[in-house]
């Protein structure tokens, strides 16, 4: 066991491992592809974090090469509706023939093969739930509109995630169910190369897989390494054992060894390790001792091997986890997507399935849209005599173009973005009050369905401390240890809010920004300590914030109202309120009032 200072910060890099990460990333991506090809339905799939580009294309092409030519590779088109995905009523065929005609869905079409999901970060939770259920069950079951069918759907899921950060990620219900998560963003063109394996070897490994055994010691080491890394899901543990077995099969062995376990630890635990874990040495050793005591047939010798494997596993997985954290592009203004997307003031969004009804429009009753029967009949009625010539015996022939669906107006959800100054001497106080305000707002907003996010700026940059959430539990956990002090990068804080507001507006939420600051920024966007540049930057991003058309509340937390803060608030188009003591009750009250007024 390597000695470690008890108070080392979590996921502290061991220099070498960290430096090697970028190179080893392609190797790992390649390894993940191979293991997946060996056990595609047991490992369920992989999430590929990467911007679209040649590297990703190369990986996908090489992955394709690991499968037999006739293996189905299907794409889940963006915006595919429920009927297309699960199968169901073939409406036009049904109307044409006058009896129910059903069709197989996309998932059933991918049975025995691979399902590609592009732009997975935009995947609606409802669709992710369908995929998750299919992954769990291995089949899809449709029963609606007179159709009842059950199709096999065992597939390997490739989730292409183009999201920039945690606020733009595929639904967790699906992420949890895929064994691997790889990131290709750090891979350079030089490192990317063709996989050094052919489908012949993969086929042999697939055959061998059934015979590969994983000893009790290795299993125990994997499970305890998981515990030490804060990986709690039994699914993840099963994935790591399956991955280790596939790795052994790849090496033409019938027994899982340390090396295989290491690969599994790196690929499965790496992305899953939770950052707030205690240093592993502290946590793992008592558990280890206990496990040795309670297992009668474990001799000291075996215990030693198990411990070694576990230590090594924890070390590699931690290194992988660290790389995973740092692989994400830093947050800032430059990752902004399309500019000025806030065209709609959008408090009301049209929907076909929730909210209050506002008439009917032409359309097909699927994907949750509801048939408006009377409107449909009305539409068909005038044509009755003309059409009856063709459709003898039918009282009222209804064609597809007659179908009408109900329209609804749904109130869109509000996202309150707090931008809080955590710099300087009064940081702790301001943050504590902001935290109080967030909690008060949340505990009060169940019925209104508001979400809350919190951006804190201090030192050299701004951080999204609390990604959009409605969960009080999560707020408490995230905000319990608040950092503070240092310079005042006000401009970065506003920039972060601009990005978040734009992203969330694209998702259909209505952003509402609350800034708590004295308006005295002294760190420029570049991180440079230059007051003049910092102020110019703040005004510039302030204008950008105004362009997002979000409503903004500016609480001046300085001891006296300052003209500078006032000027910035005007530039943003914000409602300005001096609030020298920034107390949580007052803040939450004003915010509530402002939202209600909007």
């Amino acid at each position: 066991m390597t000695a470690a200072a008890p108070n080392t910060p979590n996921l502290q890099p061991d220099g070498q491992e960290f430096l090697g990460h970028s190179q080893c990333s392609w190797a790992d991506a390649q390894l993940a592809a191979m293991l997946l090809a060996i056990d595609p339905f047991g490992l369920c799939g992989v999430r590929i974090c990467s911007a679209p580009g040649p590297i990703r294309d190369l990986w996908a092409e090489q992955f394709r090469g690991l499968f037999a030519k006739d293996t189905p590779f299907r794409k889940l088109p963006f915006g595919a509706d429920r009927d297309r995905i699960l199968g169901g009523l073939d409406l036009s065929a049904t109307l044409r023939s006058g009896r129910i005609v059903s069709e197989k869905g996309l998932l059933a079409g991918a049975d025995g093969g691979v399902l590609n999901v592009a732009m997975a970060e935009r995947l609606p939770p409802a669709i992710a739930a369908l995929l998750s259920a299919a992954i769990d069950d291995g089949f899809v079951y449709v029963e609606s509109n007179g159709v009842s069918r059950r199709d096999l759907a065992r597939f390997c899921c490739l989730l292409y995630d183009e999201g920039f950060d945690a606020s733009e990620a595929p639904p967790r219900i699906l992420l949890e169910r895929l064994a691997f998560h790889i990131s290709l963003d750090g891979v350079s063109m030089r490192d990317a190369c063709a996989f050094n394996i052919d489908d012949e070897e993969i086929r042999a490994a697939r055959k061998r897989l059934e015979r590969v055994r994983c000893s009790d010691e290795i299993t125990a080491a994997i499970v305890s390494a998981g515990a030490a890394l804060g990986v709690h899901s039994a699914r993840a543990l099963m994935f790591s054992i399956r991955a280790a077995r596939a790795a052994a099969a790849l090496e033409q062995r019938n027994e899982v060894t340390q090396d295989d376990a290491e690969i599994a630890g790196r690929l499965v635990f790496g992305p899953r390790a939770t950052v707030d874990i205690a240093p592993p040495e502290e946590q793992a050793s008592p558990e280890q001792e206990r496990s040795n005591e309670t297992t009668p047939d474990t001799s000291n010798d075996q215990g030693g091997v198990e411990k070694d494997v576990q230590d090594m596993l924890v070390a590699t997985a931690r290194a992988a986890a660290l790389g995973w954290v740092l692989d994400k592009p830093p947050q800032g203004l430059r990752r902004r997507g399309t500019a000025g997307a806030g065209g709609k003031s959008g408090a009301l969004v049209e929907s076909t399935w929730k909210g209050r009804p506002v008439g009917a429009r032409r359309g097909v009753p699927q994907d949750g849209a509801r048939l408006d029967l009377s409107a449909t009949l009305t539409a068909a009625a005038p044509w009755r005599n003309i059409r009856s010539a063709d459709d003898r015996g039918v009282h009222l022939p209804i064609y597809k173009e007659d179908l009408r669906i109900k329209r609804f107006k749904a109130r869109s959800e509000t996202l309150v973005i707090f931008v809080v100054d955590a710099s300087g001497s009064s940081a702790m106080h301001r943050m504590a009050e902001a935290k109080g305000a967030v909690e008060l707002l949340l505990s009060d907003c169940y019925s209104r369905r508001d979400h809350v996010a919190l951006i804190a700026f201090r030192g050299e940059k701004a951080d999204l401390i609390l990604p959009p959430t409605r969960s009080l539990t999560r707020v408490r956990r995230t905000l319990s240890a608040l950092p503070g002090g240092g310079g005042t990068p006000l401009a970065s804080g506003i920039a972060e809010a601009v990005v978040l507001a734009e992203t969330e507006r694209r998702k259909g939420k209505t952003p509402f920004v609350v800034i708590i600051s004295d308006g005295r920024g002294n760190i420029a966007l570049s991180g440079e300590a230059d007051r003049a540049v910092a102020e110019a930057d703040a005004l510039a991003v302030g204008r950008r914030l105004r362009q997002t058309q979000s409503r903004v509340l500016f609480f001046d937390s300085g001891t006296r109202p300052s003209p500078r803060a006032r000027a910035l608030a005007d530039e943003i188009g914000a409602q300005y309120m001096p609030l020298p003591y920034a107390d949580s009750v007052a803040v939450s009250k004003s915010v509530k009032k402002a939202i209600a007024a909007g």
């Binding site: 129910i100 769990d136 299993t219 899901s233 099963m238 509801r370 169940y446 969960s471 999560r474």
Partner: protein, 340 residues
């Protein structure tokens, strides 16, 4: 298709207990299982489905009427000419999954489109609520479900019937089911009004004990390698449990509840500030089901102590500035009020 046997689930005693109590007495109300992912919530509910005793239904009835209960028959089963010769058959009790993307028409039922288009006949096509009648309705990620759907489900679960007024249809049918919801509170919370409508709630945690975790993985692995053999190994335990449930159901009506115990349950609810009478009522029913399950004739203070956290932890009023875990608060009050 094979199911992971209920008796083979390692740990999760609270969740298993809660599910068994509802299997004995559906009136205990639904179960809300909040907590870690991959801790075995889905496995437990699927295992329960295989475990439940069979139910007697009217052959050919799409609402799964109970032939022994002549009062609760559906419209078709009560028609005189059919009623004379109701054929019955045994069926497995349903455990229906409600997918997250389900729409209202799939849940409550809707106009049968085929009949409407082809024959011009207005006929009702039963939805998931009808399918779950006399069984369980399971919702994974209940906290992510649309509010209006959750309202609708809880309303049907509480009233025991489904009333449909849409697209020119007017239908009313029995829908008595136990609602089981699971979710991770980190991804969004349920409104307190909704929390209160669930009978029992369980905190699902992944086991901290290494040996226990190891056993989880070992059994899961054995199951995935050879599901049939694994099921066979556990068959006897599952059948024993099934018989226990059957016996408890018969015994339920005879369980005696002393006033003393009732009084203590009431004072516990008052001490905790749990609103309404639902907490007390659930405690009473759950304690009774527990006594029946364990083959006793009388509810004891021990039963009350065991069911109190299940019945009460989700009914405490939320104080945003008090971070004490609800389970801890209940445990504390139980020690004070229900001292054994």
């Amino acid at each position: 298709m094979s199911t992971f046997p209920f008796s083979a689930i390692v740990g999760q005693d609270e969740l298993k207990l809660a599910l068994l109590l509802t299997a004995v007495d559906a009136n205990v109300g639904g179960v809300l299982a909040l907590g870690d992912r991959g801790a075995g919530k889905t496995t437990a509910i699927r295992g329960l489905a295989a475990l439940l005793p069979k139910i007697e239904v009217v052959d050919g009835c799409s609402f799964r009427c109970d032939p022994t209960n002549t009062q609760g028959l559906c419209e078709i089963c009560t028609r005189p000419k059919i009623n004379g010769a109701l054929k019955s058959k045994n069926e497995t009790a349903p455990v229906v999954d409600l997918p997250l993307g389900a729409t209202e028409d799939r849940v409550v039922g809707a106009l049968d489109l085929e009949r409407a288009l082809v024959d011009g006949e207005k006929r009702f096509e039963p939805g998931l609520l009808a399918r779950a009648h006399r069984g369980y309705l399971y919702i994974d990620e209940v906290n992510l479900l649309d509010d209006h759907l959750v309202d609708l489900l809880l309303d049907a679960a509480a009233s025991g019937e489904n009333v449909v007024e849409r697209e020119g249809l007017s239908v009313r049918h029995a829908a008595r089911f136990v609602l089981v919801g699971s979710g991770n509170p980190e991804e969004g919370e349920l409104r307190p009004q909704l929390l209160d409508r669930f009978g029992l709630s369980v905190d699902v945690r992944t086991p901290d004990d290494l040996q226990e975790r190891l056993e989880v993985v070992r059994r899961r692995d054995a199951f995935e390698r050879d599901p049939e053999a694994f099921e066979k190994t556990w068959k006897r335990k599952d059948s024993a449990l099934r018989r226990k449930i059957e016996k408890a159901r018969q015994k339920l009506g005879e369980i005696d509840t002393p006033d003393d115990e009732l009084e203590k349950a009431a004072s516990l609810c008052i001490a905790l500030g749990a609103d309404g009478l639902r907490g007390e009522l659930t405690m009473l029913r759950a304690a009774r089901a527990l006594a029946a399950l364990e083959g006793r004739d009388k509810v004891t203070i021990k039963d009350m102590r065991r069911v109190a956290p299940l019945a009460l932890r989700h009914r405490l009023r939320k104080d945003p500035l008090d971070e004490t875990d609800a389970s801890v608060r209940v445990a504390r009050a139980v020690e004070e009020v229900l001292a054994a």
